[in-house]
């Protein structure tokens, strides 16, 4: 379970040692402040994210959710404080941004194959399904990419250019790209925006499986209902601070769409 580390006004305030002692911490955010010009986007946020947990970051626009995610991904450096990875390397982080991070002129398969190469997934290597016990020997890069596309329901669109994809299809392909290299920490920024209900359910199921497989999943979203049955801990950010931390059972009925 994640623990908020500081901020005296926070009801969930506690210290880092408890989580660190369990050995399950994967991301430790310690007194992080991020200042853009004269605006503090993040203000002394401390939090410890654990393995096998799905965190849902909630909050209004400008609350600092995406900034925090970018700092965990290593795309942005804190002005003060530190973001540290524990028990995982920088290469074991998967990041899905608000933008698609895809080439429009390439097909879905060409995109995935390119990013597979960037992550060192070679031809003919022994591969495994990280969410199942058995190893799958001899899968080549193309097969891995095909399976990834199939997992997000895009197998009919493999050979179409991304420019011909709907926004929802782009989001699903973007998710496949983010988890292609078996990351231990998965960061997702608004993964369900413009995605239909069926696709949202499929993406949510996949994220749940990744979490159950041992990953730390951190999702920024405004659609809390989509993760109300899968998310473990719901963090609310306001004006650059984590102001509330709730378990799934503590969600209000209006938030889960009841």
């Amino acid at each position: 379970m994640g623990l908020i580390l500081s901020t005296t006004s926070n009801p969930s305030a506690t210290n880092v040692s408890a989580t660190a002692a369990t050995g399950t911490a994967t991301v430790i955010v310690d007194k992080v402040t991020k200042i853009f010009g004269r605006v503090a986007a993040i203000r002394e946020v401390s939090f410890c994210f654990s393995a096998r947990m799905m965190y849902v970051l909630l909050g209004d626009n400008g609350a600092g959710k995406s900034t925090l995610l970018r700092m965990i991904a290593g795309l942005s450096q804190p002005t003060m404080g530190s973001v540290e990875l524990a028990n995982v390397t920088r290469e074991q982080v998967g990041y899905m941004a608000h933008a698609s991070l895809l080439y429009d002129e390439l097909t879905g398969m060409e995109n995935l194959e390119y990013f597979a190469r960037l992550h060192g997934i070679e031809e003919g290597r022994t591969a495994c399904a990280p969410f199942a016990a058995e190893q799958q020997v001899g899968l080549n890069r193309r097969t891995i990419c095909e399976r990834a596309m199939t997992s997000v329901g895009l197998e009919p669109a493999m050979t179409r250019p991304v420019s011909a994809y709907s926004q929802g299809m782009r989001q699903r392909l973007s998710l496949a790209r983010a988890v292609l290299h078996s990351p231990k920490v998965i960061l997702l920024d608004e993964p369900f925006s413009n995605v239909d209900a069926a696709s949202t359910a499929q993406m949510t199921k996949l994220l749940g499986e990744l979490r159950d497989g041992g990953c730390t999943v951190i999702v920024v979203t405004h659609q809390v209902a989509a993760l109300s049955h899968t998310g473990d801990e719901f963090l609310t950010m306001k004006l650059g601070k984590i102001v509330e931390s709730r378990r799934r059972a503590q969600l209000r009925s209006t938030e889960v769409g009841l």
Binding site: G74, E105, R125, A127, S151
Partner: protein, 241 residues
């Protein structure tokens, strides 16, 4: 959506096996494919270079002797300006959909991306030079007095100098508000030594009056220095906020 497998098969322990040459090859192939499908850089660069050559040919009516003296300057200035179009495009497509962030979070080495971009731009600019050069020879009624094979050496080294430098400075100006303006402002001053060597070497070969060897050596030295500097410094440029 159709029924799909519930797990993703993913290669295990992959990050330690990343080959620099593999990344260069994959990125170069991707860039060639993108350009083949969009033709953004080639079309713009080709038309620009063609226009400059035609306008200069119409503006002046030089004798054969004068042509040999000024042709080197006109040719390289035309391609310096034309290359800027391709150089801006090369990073603009990485900024669309913020694809560069996907590269930044991957373990792939930054220098491999830089080198693949330089190679890609070298091929694009080289292709346009090859297509426009015959027209240039016709318009300016050129024939070489010096050894013609040395022209090929100057073209290769000169083009590499333009794109190695230009690719680096295009990346440097990537996050600036007016990057189309910033690139020439950064690139042109630092390209003056290379431009001087290209023009002098080309003129020497065309006129046969001097030996171009010294200028070719300067150009080769310039290429080595700026390519190595680009490879070493690109990591910092890529990961700058």
């Amino acid at each position: 959506m159709s029924a799909t497998p519930s797990v993703l098969p993913v290669a295990a322990g992959v990050a330690e096996n990343i080959g620099w040459v593999d990344i260069v090859r994959a990125s170069l192939r991707k860039d060639l494919r993108l350009e083949w499908r969009s033709k953004d850089a080639l079309n713009a660069m080709g038309f620009f270079a063609l226009l400059v050559v035609v306008i200069f040919a119409m503006s002046f009516d030089p004798s054969a002797e004068e042509s040999r003296r000024i042709a080197g300057g006109i040719f390289w200035v035309a391609f310096l300006f034309a290359a800027v179009v391709a150089l801006n495009q090369t990073w603009a497509r990485e900024m669309r959909n913020q694809v560069l962030d996907a590269y930044r979070v991957s373990p792939a080495p930054a220098s491999a991306l830089f080198f693949s971009k330089v190679l890609g731009n070298f091929l694009f600019v080289g292709l346009i030079e090859t297509l426009v050069s015959p027209l240039f020879i016709i318009f300016y009624n050129l024939r070489t007095v010096g050894p013609a094979w040395q022209l090929a050496v100057v073209f290769l080294l000169g083009t590499w100098a333009l794109v190695a430098n230009g690719t680096f400075f295009a990346a440097l100006s990537l996050r600036t508000r007016n990057r189309e303006v910033m690139l020439p402002l950064l690139l042109f001053p630092i390209s003056i030594p290379a431009l001087l060597a290209m023009v002098q070497a080309t003129t020497a070969i065309l006129s046969g009056e001097n030996s171009p060897e010294m200028w070719i050596k300067i150009l080769a030295g310039y290429d080595v220095v700026f390519t190595v500097a680009g490879l070493l410094l690109f990591e910092t440029v890529l990961h700058a906020e």
